[in-house]
C-alpha cells in the first residue's frame, strides 16, 4: 500500500502528499520528508547512479517492512536518479495513518532504511572535479536502531 517510484523527473511533493488523504476520512495524520540537493561546499551538481533491476524492488521491500510494522493507511516513496542541481528534490517519503505516532515513526524508518539499503550511489561535482559520496556510519547507526528487539 506504499507506492514506490524511481524516476529521473522531478516530483510534486505537495501533490503527492495531498493525494494520500484526498477523498478519505480515515486518515488523521500525514507525515512527509523531502530530501534536497544542498549547494554547500561549492557543489555544482549531484548525480545519482542506481541498479535498475534492484532499486525499485529494494524500495518496495523497505516499504513493505514499514507497512508491516506500523498501522499505515498509505504512503509514497519517490527517489530520483540522474544529474541533479543544488536545490533540486532528490527523495520524497510520505506516509498516512490514523494517528501521528505511526506516521512519524514510519517516515523516519523509511528514510533511515533508504539511506542504507536502497542501491543508489551519489557522485558530487564541485570545482570541476567529481567525487563519490562516502557512506556514513551515522546512517548505519540510525538504521540499526530500528532493528527488532526480539
Amino acid at each position: 500500500m506504499i507506492a514506490v517510484r524511481v524516476q529521473a523527473e522531478p516530483f510534486d511533493a505537495g501533490a503527492e502528499i495531498a493525494a494520500l488523504s484526498a477523498g478519505r476520512s480515515d486518515v488523521g495524520a500525514v507525515v512527509s520528508f523531502t530530501g534536497l540537493v544542498r549547494g554547500d561546499g561549492g557543489l555544482t551538481a549531484m548525480t545519482l547512479e542506481h541498479y535498475p533491476a534492484m532499486t525499485a524492488p529494494a524500495m518496495a521491500r523497505i516499504a513493505a517492512e514499514a507497512a508491516a510494522r506500523w498501522p499505515l493507511l498509505g504512503g509514497t516513496v519517490v527517489h530520483r536518479i540522474g544529474r541533479l542541481l543544488p536545490g533540486d528534490p532528490i527523495v520524497l517519503v510520505a506516509v498516512a495513518a490514523a494517528h501521528r505516532a505511526a506516521a512519524f515513526a514510519a517516515a523516519e524508518f523509511l528514510m533511515d532504511w533508504l539511506k542504507t539499503r536502497a542501491p543508489l550511489w551519489k557522485r558530487e561535482e564541485a570545482g570541476g572535479e567529481a567525487r563519490w559520496v562516502e557512506a556514513r556510519r551515522e546512517d548505519d547507526a540510525a538504521a540499526a536502531r530500528w532493528e527488532a528487539d526480539g
Partner: protein
Amino acid sequence: MIDLLYFARVREAIGVDGEVLPLPAGVAAVGDLLAWLATRSPRHAAALADRAAIRVAVNQAFAGDEAGVGDGDEVAVFPPVTGG
C-alpha cells in the same frame, strides 16, 4: 555462467560495468567468488582490495560472504550505498 554487474567506484576501478563469467569449480559462496574475482586482473584486485568497502547483491538481494552463488545468478558488486 554468472552475470556480474559493477556500480559506482567498483565499475570505475575495474573498467567495465559488468561481465559474464563461468562460475569456477569450487566457488559456491560470495566470499569465495570475490576472492577469485580479485585474481582476474590488477584492476579487479585493486577494486576489491578493501573488502570492508564492498557490498554484494545476488539476484537483487543483499548477500553476505556466506551466501550461495550458483550458475545463472546475477551478482552485483558495489560500494556501500549512498541514496536517500
